[in-house]
Symmetry: C2
Subunit: 187 residues, 2 copies
């Protein structure tokens, strides 16, 4: 088992998730993580900005959302474009085979304030990505921000359900959630 094993970032992420689940985030050292992955602290920080990022690094969610919104049919309303983005996420990120991983990751994040904080920041990035993509379609500033915010809420709700007992396909859950949010927003 050499110095040249491939996929260092992935090995580190898996090791980190395991250790966080076993003994908790604050009882796990970066050195612990690196050791389980057969690496060292130096290498860890070469692949991740900090200890929290090891659970968020692989995420290209912002890019997926942005691209899907931009690729939606020209005549689609803002919230419809957001709906397409939800489906794209279901296809490219929250797939059935990654559900178990996502569920564990979710519970680990929920248990530790530092990780929740990072997640909050990533959430802002997601809404910003959607909002920017909508503005790129010619949607006015405020409408874009509203649609992005409602889309983010729908994604959160769908993620709660999808990673909960229900299972099913994420894209559909997100579409349903988005429709419910739209109805709840009609005041």
């Amino acid at each position: 088992m050499g110095r040249w094993e491939p996929n260092a970032p992935e090995r580190l992420s898996r090791a980190a998730l395991e250790l966080f689940a076993e003994r908790g985030y604050e009882n796990t050292t970066v050195i612990d993580i690196a050791q389980r992955a057969g690496l060292t602290k130096s290498t860890f920080f070469r692949h991740f900005q900090d200890k929290r990022e090891v659970l968020f690094g692989g995420s290209t969610l912002a890019g997926v959302l942005s691209d899907a919104v931009a690729a939606a049919p020209e005549d689609a309303a803002p919230l419809e474009a957001v709906g397409f983005a939800m489906e794209a996420v279901g296809r490219e990120a929250f797939t059935a085979e990654r559900r178990e991983f996502s569920v564990l990751r979710r519970s680990v994040i929920a248990a530790h304030p530092e990780l929740r904080e990072r997640e909050a920041l990533k959430g802002l990035a997601l809404t910003a990505a959607m909002s920017d993509a909508l503005r790129g379609r010619g949607v006015p500033e405020l409408q874009a921000r509203v649609a992005a915010e409602l889309g983010a809420l729908a994604m959160t709700v769908a993620y709660e359900r999808w990673s909960g007992a229900e299972g099913g396909e994420f894209g559909e859950a997100a579409r349903r959630a988005l429709e419910e949010v739209r109805a709840a927003a009609a005041l």
Copy 2:
């Protein structure tokens, strides 16, 4: 100038804001902050959980929002209750005399990722507070979350304007922003 000077937390906050503005967040040590306030590192961490919190500690915004939503007239619709909360914030938090302080604080936070991250977490706490207060009024789960999210967006927009060149009163700016958001959400 003794050991018994009052208002240690406030002195620390002011010292921190000054130093962050002067030399930047990462070029400022907790010891620097404590020294400028005439205190020590130990005392700093006795008043604040961590270095970031020194810019967020005084904030009872969540409580203000929560109370105001709960105190709104019984027959007020969710978004109207949120409107009352906005005015309460204008009265009790974002007052005219604190504007200068808020503007500086805002620019400091915007300049440093760690601080933006903490702000994102505080934002989540605010929407959660509003959402919970709305549910306490009997508003269904999803409607409460939507109204809270729209309220948070309105607050963000109003804050941008209020701390920008425009000035004026925060409560009014927030009410206007909330009305615009409501209009933009009518899809």
